[in-house]
């Protein structure tokens, strides 16, 4: 709760939250915002934006605005779903490795480093290619199971330092079981890292889903921003001058990315008391998300 009130007092966080809220509201009320179905042919191919079709039509005569607002649902669902999965796996493994130490730590740490050096997108391409036309759900799941390594690394290193603190020592002396210590003593102190990890993972998932679909590995019947990009690219939207077809999902993705990134940086600033004015510094964001945050 303290985090939340601090967030509301941070300008970057506020702008980020507003952007995110707009997109979430658009996604929820998508059917009310447009009279058109996103999957029906409602106009002639590649009509320019007009009063009837705010953002024009695609080559198949679908309404771009209708596809955009409905597509927000998929992007958000995959982003937050996969983000949650990535964060849960990363946090659980990170805390266990950092707190338990010993062999457990070595095993987890070894696998984490291994996953970190196998390039993520090429791996995802192989997985998705064998799966065939991956639905958003499948994309979210494979993202979740391949992208947790960064989270483990940061959570583990922070857990290592928290483990040495007095309150953990005293809980150990009192004979608390280790799951309790990890859950109630250590985890609450990691909340800002978990937050950064979560939002970073959401950004990553949104971008990667769009990228995989753009590259032709998604299910072409889905209504999502990535599939919109794929269709626009395949119908040579730019060379026939139908910029609206391509730029609409582009700006939507950029807008969502910006909102999430602002939020992430704000949490970073709040988590780091060292130099609040400049903010957004901290030990564990040495690697920020440039490691995995985007493609």
């Amino acid at each position: 709760m303290k985090l939340l009130s601090q967030l509301l007092h941070n300008k970057k966080a506020l702008v980020g939250l507003i952007i995110l809220t707009i997109i979430v509201l658009v996604a929820i009320f998508a059917p009310l915002l447009t009279e058109y179905s996103p999957t029906r042919r409602v106009g002639r191919p590649h009509q320019a934006p007009s009063w009837d079709h705010w953002l024009g039509t695609t080559r198949l005569g679908h309404d771009v605005f209708a596809r955009l607002v409905h597509g927000a649902r998929v992007s958000l669902a995959v982003g937050f779903g996969a983000g949650l999965l990535i964060t849960v796996i990363g946090t659980v493994l990170g805390i266990i490795a950092g707190y338990k130490g010993g062999v457990v730590d070595e095993i987890i740490n070894f696998f984490t480093n291994m996953v970190l050096v196998i390039p993520n997108l090429p791996l995802l391409l192989v997985l998705a290619a064998f799966i065939g036309q991956a639905s958003p759900l499948v994309i979210a799941i494979i993202l979740g199971f391949t992208s947790w390594a960064w989270g483990v690394r940061v959570t583990r290193s922070e857990t290592l330092s928290i483990r040495q603190r007095d309150f953990v020592k005293s809980a150990e002396m009192l004979g608390e079981p280790s799951w309790r210590i990890m859950l109630f003593e250590i985890f609450p102190n990691l909340i800002s890292i978990v937050g950064i990890n979560f939002i970073g993972s959401v950004i990553f998932a949104v971008i990667t889903e769009a990228t995989l679909e753009f590259l032709g590995l998604g299910d072409p019947n889905t209504v999502s921003w990535g599939i919109m990009l794929y269709n626009a690219q395949n119908s040579a939207a730019l060379s026939v001058g139908a910029w609206w077809d391509l730029l609409s999902p582009c700006f939507a993705l950029a807008f969502l990315g910006l909102g999430l990134a602002l939020l992430n940086f704000a949490i970073d600033e709040i988590a780091n008391p060292r130099l609040r004015t400049g903010g957004m510094l901290n030990r564990w964001t040495r690697m920020v998300r440039i490691g995995e945050g985007k493609l």
């Binding site: 970057k12 480093n113 291994m114 970190l116 050096v117 196998i118 390039p119 993520n120 997108l121 090429p122 791996l123 391409l125 192989v126 997985l127 290619a129 064998f130 799966i131 950004i203 971008i207 769009a210 990228t211 753009f214 590259l215 032709g216 990009l229 690219q233 730019l238 060379s239 001058g241 910029w243 391509l246 730029l247 582009c250 700006f251 950029a254 990315g257 910006l258 999430l260 990134a261 602002l262 940086f265 060292r274 130099l275 004015t277 400049g278 957004m280 510094l281 901290n282 030990r283 964001t285 040495r286 690697m287 920020v288 998300r289 440039i290 490691g291 995995e292 945050g293 985007k294 493609l295």
Partner: protein, 325 residues
């Protein structure tokens, strides 16, 4: 020395994992793995050629572990099979040709954005809280949050299609023959400008933020205060006392970023129809040319591991403490 040997062993293990994924993936899926792998060939493949391909990928009449060893043997002898779309072109040759373009594009873009980003980060940290800092930080946030595919498409639209400043595709004028003359080289540079700018835009922000955060953490250290107390000039303290030390973790973040850079360059190449790995891969995905798709994972992993090793080496040079370890 042991540090580097340990890293080498680790990289070998990582490569093995990538190869293992390639081996088990088609076998784990429902259906006939041979049919899945080579289905896109249709009837074009003669029985003899098909058998050779099967052998490369370990589809032999033997228990699983022998199949696995057979596959590993082909991987480690550099045989990644043949492309089905461009049969009988070997995958290594197909990807090798493309790799040169990707490495060139990626390498130059990485050097430019790393240098630019680090300087921006140093500068922002030095003037933290001021206007310069806000501008750089916000710019960096924006640049690091927008997907490469979006940046590429917007660049292509603005500079390629609308302003017509730069060509819309290819690595060089297709009418020219590749040669070491100015005409060809200038054509390559001209065609490479947009993809390069895209990558630099996408990458610089991340490097700037990393550098800035490291710098700010360092600026509170005693030796910085000491350097100032000695009366050293601002520039001297900023570059030789703070930036130099802040560079160390930034270099290690570079190693992790290489995967991202690879990914970004894949997408950028597809958008700009650039003949690198990304585009080759895109064509392979459309044609479901599985040997090529699998081969790229191994080649990319190898590229990533080699760059990681280079970073390890530079780390030893930058941090003398590691030399003894």
């Amino acid at each position: 020395m042991t540090f580097l040997l340990r890293r080498l062993a680790f990289y070998l293990a990582a490569f093995l994992v990538a190869a293992t994924i390639n081996f088990f993936l088609p076998r784990m899926l429902p259906g006939d793995p041979i049919a899945i792998m080579f289905s896109s060939a249709g009837a074009d493949l003669s029985l003899e050629n098909l058998n050779a391909l099967k052998l490369t990928f370990g589809f032999i009449d033997a228990p699983l572990h022998e199949q696995y060893l057979a596959y590993l043997q082909s991987v480690f002898t550099g045989d990644l099979g043949r492309s089905i779309k461009y049969f009988p072109l070997p995958v290594t040759e197909l990807l090798g040709r493309a790799l040169i373009w990707t490495l060139g594009l990626m390498g130059i873009a990485t050097v430019i954005s790393f240098t630019l980003g680090s300087f921006l980060g140093v500068f922002a940290a030095w003037r933290r809280g001021r206007l310069v800092d806000s501008v750089i930080s916000l710019g960096a946030i924006f640049s690091s949050s927008v997907p490469a595919v979006v940046v590429s498409l917007i660049m292509l639209f603005v500079f390629g299609y609308t302003l017509r400043w730069f060509p819309n595709g290819y690595a060089a004028n297709p009418l020219l023959d590749p040669a070491w003359n100015w005409q060809y080289i200038s054509s390559v540079l001209y065609h490479g400008t947009l993809p390069m700018l895209t990558l630099v835009f996408v990458l610089t922000g991340g490097f700037a933020v990393t550098m800035r955060n490291n710098m700010i953490n360092l600026l509170g250290e005693d030796y910085i205060v000491m350097a100032r107390a000695k009366g050293l000039s601002d520039n001297n303290v900023m570059l030789w006392y703070a930036a130099r030390n802040a560079l160390l973790p930034t270099v290690s973040s570079l190693a992790i970023a290489i995967g991202t850079i690879l990914g970004g360059s894949l997408v950028t190449e597809v958008v700009f129809n650039y003949p690198g790995l990304g585009n080759t891969l895109y064509q392979a995905i459309i044609a479901r040319d599985y040997p090529v798709i699998q081969g790229q994972l191994l080649i990319m992993t190898a590229a990533m591991l080699i760059s990681n090793f280079v970073v390890d080496l530079s780390y030893v040079l930058l941090d003398p403490r590691l030399k003894k370890a």
